[in-house]
Subunit: 484 residues, 2 copies
């Protein structure tokens, strides 16, 4: 360590201009039924008590403090990410997904306006890196290269002929530097090509981790994606002003979706790749768990309420319900409150087809879980009936829901533990355990936990329309009024 700090004082000092840009817009379906549209992979606790995005923020925290950490995501995921991440993290919200080039461009114009010398460490929010120390060392190396104007990409030495990743073919070593020139980027190969790549030793996996100056990437966008550059220029002008959100909204729908790899990196002359031996995994599907989670002596990975007899080499992922398994081999079983997946391990990448079928059938099991987390607590849908819906609602101590009303439903509330402070039209009163109240339609109301232990109520909704969007928010602690 001492040696290192002696040899790289410049890189160390440059870190005050280093910013983290975490790409967290994905709504990964490949971890269904654990992941849902509104609970994507980056929010899941797959291999540890921290979710993947929490790990991503913590991993670089010794190098990049929270106030220089930016998460690029969208409104659907913003609240839950905010709940998971320490306060201080910055958010940049895309109105809609437009692939990585526009998202990176949006972050770049924000950072450039904040700090014209800013360096952006771009990282997907949903990958696992086991050798964190090594990664941080490489980030420092990459930062030194980026300062010189290079677009640095992190390439992973292949361990197997993987057909699920893009590859980078390395060229000659950059004189006096840690990196290599890039010969070319390749699409996901077939198995024969992947085997050839593996044997040749010249190919690295494209990790989707990049480091460059915000000014450098903006310049490259100007050269190679001039249409995008024009839109970003409009946004850039609005950064820091009140009109920012509406400028982004106005511009974004006209942006053509394109990836940073295809749009810039495959064309730019400034790209450099540094080989990264950091035990990286993109956790692209259920079978990838074998790489990142320790298996028991039978080769199984087990979680939740599993009763197993004699299974081996399987992923048995239960929840609160009983999941009983007998004699399974090379299988993935994932059990959640409202859906169960049983899948041959080698076909785990077909989960997306199940999600397509759920969409086609008009189901909702790919959108939300039965339990939905909110800043004030959570609710669990116990039953969705004909003209009625039953929820158990948990409100954290001192927290309150928005002041709201519904056009189409009335609500019966029974307090089953704790004390509720209820605003019901003009009246405000406390409702205690084993007491109930009734909220008529169109009546302004609010549920609040004034106490110091959690409040649990059972809500029986009754009416002709019982979806979440029948809500008019009059006041809200969590700035959700705009969202209707």
């Amino acid at each position: 360590m001492n040696k290192k700090s002696k040899t790289k004082p410049a890189a160390r000092n440059s870190n005050t201009h280093l910013y983290a840009v975490i790409m967290a817009g994905g709504s990964g379906t490949r971890f269904w039924p654990l992941s849902r549209q509104l609970s994507p992979k980056q929010l899941l606790r797959i291999d540890s008590d921290d979710s993947l995005i929490q790990q991503t923020v913590k991993r670089i925290n010794s190098l990049i403090p929270l106030n220089r950490t930016y998460v690029v995501t969208n409104e659907n995921h913003y609240l839950e990410m905010k709940m998971q991440l320490a306060s201080g993290v910055n958010f940049i919200l895309e109105p809609e997904g437009r692939n990585t080039a526009p998202a990176i461009g949006l972050a770049a114009v924000n950072l450039y306006k904040t700090d014209a010398d800013s360096l952006m460490l771009v990282m997907p929010a949903d990958h696992i890196i086991k050798k964190s120390e090594k990664f941080l060392d490489l980030v420092k190396d990459a930062a030194a290269l980026a300062k010189k104007g290079y677009l640095v990409t992190f390439g992973i030495r292949p361990k197997r002929p993987e057909t699920g990743y893009g590859y980078i073919k390395t060229g000659s070593r950059v004189k006096g530097q840690e990196g290599f020139k890039v010969d070319r980027f390749t699409e996901k190969p077939d198995i024969k090509t992947a085997q050839k790549y593996l044997m040749s030793g010249d190919y690295l996996w494209n990790s989707g981790i990049f480091l460059w100056k915000s000014s450098a990437i903006i310049n490259e966008i100007k050269d190679y994606l001039p249409e995008l550059y024009k839109k970003l220029a409009i946004i850039k002008k609005a950064v820091g002003s009140e009109g920012f959100d509406s400028a982004v909204k106005a511009v974004y729908s006209g942006i053509k979706p394109i990836s940073i790899d295809y749009g810039i990196l495959e064309k730019s002359k400034k790209v450099i790749v540094i080989p990264a031996d950091i035990d990286w995994c993109d956790v692209g599907s259920w079978d990838a768990l074998d790489e990142v989670v320790e298996r028991d002596k039978e080769g199984n990975i087990k979680a939740g309420n599993v009763i197993d007899i004699g299974s081996s080499n399987s992923i048995l992922y239960g929840g609160k319900r009983v999941l009983a398994t007998i004699g399974l081999k090379d299988l993935v079983v994932v059990d959640t409150a409202d859906a169960t997946l049983v899948c041959k391990k080698s076909e785990a990448q077909k989960v997306g087809k199940i999600v397509d079928e759920l969409k086609k059938r008009g189901y909702e099991e790919h959108i939300t879980h039965r339990t939905v987390h909110r800043p004030w607590g959570s609710y669990t849908v116990l039953e969705n009936g004909n003209r009625f819906k039953i929820k158990r609602i948990e409100v954290k101590p001192k927290a309150k829901l928005s002041l709201q009303k519904h056009h189409h439903r009335s609500e019966h509330w029974v307090v089953v533990s704790g004390t509720a402070k209820v605003t019901n039209g003009d009246k405000v009163c406390n409702i205690h355990t084993n007491e109930s109240t009734y909220i008529p339609p169109s009546t302004i109301h609010r549920l609040e936990n004034p106490g110091i232990v959690p409040l649990h109520i059972i809500e029986v909704q009754s009416g002709e329309y019982l979806e979440e969007d029948d809500i008019v928010r009059i006041d809200d602690d969590y700035e959700r009024i705009k969202k209707g």
Copy 2:
């Protein structure tokens, strides 16, 4: 047919003394999670819209009317069986299971007292017979033999070297009759022995179907099980009197459990076996479904809300929840509201070990389903919380629950569809959709559906003890007052 009726006029006429005795005491665990202690295999609709016990009653109905059909079961299963079976069927309740010899003895003394010439066709309630017509013909043949004093057993020609059944070795043909003498009964064999049996052609599967005179079996019990005979003699005296139930209760706990095969059939000189080519299956475990349910062109058996991609030769048994399966081979997947089983088909007989583990853990997923059927309708436990429990209750039109009270809980009722007539202490009133009421502890109350469409209410129970046995019944349409 004409030929038959000409040759067997005696057998035809004897049918007025022919009684069906359906052995329905089993609490089969081998179809868990679909079967539960309180929903055993015989009550399940496994291969058709009729449950196995409904099929058993209907199968012989053209020969034996309902008033000569007796179901031997226990109090736990009595109500649900009564709901499933047409009125007119007789029930004989065992206070506790004592294996087949006491159960058959109990039925025999009942029938003998009713009709001294009675013939008993003893049948398990949970088997499938596809060739019903053939079976009825054989019953007529067997009845003729039974009239002569024989104990007739039905032997099934083996189709495979099955290790899960007992076998009967046939002896010489009984002169001038359809049957064979029995050389010996055998225990379940190992696979080598089973193969030998299959090759020899002298062995038949023991189906557990018997036909004999009640007087004949009572005499054999006297000779071979004298202790049991003494207890049955006490019960016999009480048949038809008010003291019957208490006589059975007093005697039964002292009875030693023993099977009819081991206790009588292996020893008696009067046993005769008739080979029965009736496409019989005892549906002993999930993999047996392959024998009795038609498979699709991939060899799968599918039911419920299943989304499958590319599975083959598997049993995919879903319910209302989403069950997604990908690339499975030779697997059994059974998904219910509160538990899921995933099991290699060839290891389906190990399900009993899962049930053992559930017992050991003190779980309840082997006892009841989340939805419990009652004569007045059903209830579904939506959530079992700390000091609260949520049920959805459905009451059939014109039906009512018992007049009752609870010591330890209060109940909040919200009507979500239909109209409820509620007795609450001294008051009786109608509660309409979207109205609610509150039943305090120790208050006598009753829920009733006075209407002509089903009534659905949500019940929120609150209190220190929320089990089903905290109920004092004051009045009940379904004679459940004794049972507390």
